[in-house]
């Protein structure tokens, strides 16, 4: 009985693995667009703390700074962006946290 049970479990496990693989196979070829740095592609040199329109897309609802891994911003511009956002926060142009 015990052996049968384990056999069943094994089978189930295998089926699960196959299912995941199938899913993966579907997911892989799905097109994932390469992220590009907004500031590089738009040639924005001046990341200014006064320009809230430019900064707001980088602070989602929780008002945390959007990480590079999601926004695709390059290291140089992320550093500049961070400084600008922190200045804007100090002047209450951008929130520190969501209420």
């Amino acid at each position: 009985m015990n052996g049968r049970k384990s056999f069943g479990a094994k089978k189930g496990g295998r089926a699960g693995a196959a299912g995941a693989q199938g899913k993966d196979g579907q997911r892989r070829p799905m097109f994932r667009r390469r992220k590009v740095c907004k500031f590089c592609s738009d040639k924005i040199d001046d990341i200014n703390y006064k320009d809230t329109k430019l900064l707001l897309p980088f602070v989602p609802e929780r008002a945390k700074i959007l990480p590079r891994r999601i926004s695709g911003t390059c290291a140089l511009h992320q550093r500049k962006l961070r400084v600008a956002l922190m200045r804007a926060r100090q002047l209450a142009l951008i929130p520190y946290t969501a209420e």
Binding site: R33, K35, Q90, L91, A92, Y96
Partner: protein, 153 residues
């Protein structure tokens, strides 16, 4: 050593317009006394604050671009700190950052001109050039930031 600074201060919403201009005159007086100049003044008017400061939800923003020494900014900073009507202020030195921006802009236009000449084109962009008839999915790549996060989870 004279440098360029930007000063933004947030005046309490209870202040009248006269009091706001009075504050500007106070800053002006300090600038004149210590030695410096005001390049421009911008009143952004009344804006909603992103978060409450004290019990204020709004404030009047004023931007001043100044030329002066570090001593001058120290004095202004000190004065603004003790002024009750000012709920927040920020002093930023901008001359170096602006020089960097100028340099990168100049370098970019220089390289583009060099490459255009190398391709046998006139050095400067002609009007109407490089505009595509219909922008396909070329431009929408920065709008799917949210989607990709969803796909990871």
């Amino acid at each position: 050593m004279t440098r360029k600074y930007e000063l933004v201060y947030v005046v309490s919403p209870e202040a009248s317009d006269d009091q706001v201009t009075d504050l500007h005159h106070q800053v002006e007086a300090i600038v004149q006394r210590v030695g410096g100049s005001i390049e421009k003044t911008e009143n952004w008017g009344r804006r909603r604050l992103a978060y409450e400061i004290g019990r204020h939800k709004e404030g009047t923003y004023v931007l001043e671009v100044l030329h002066g020494t570090g001593e001058l900014m120290k004095e202004i900073d000190r004065r603004l700190k003790v002024t009750d009507l000012i709920i927040r202020h920020l002093v930023v030195r901008v001359d170096e950052a602006q020089a960097v921006i100028e340099r990168t802009k100049a370098r970019r236009s220089a390289t583009s001109q060099r490459r255009r000449v190398a391709r046998g084109l006139p050095a400067d962009r002609q009007p109407g050039e490089g505009q595509r008839g219909d922008a396909d999915d070329d431009r929408d790549d920065r709008f799917d930031m949210g989607n990709e996060r969803g796909m990871d989870r």
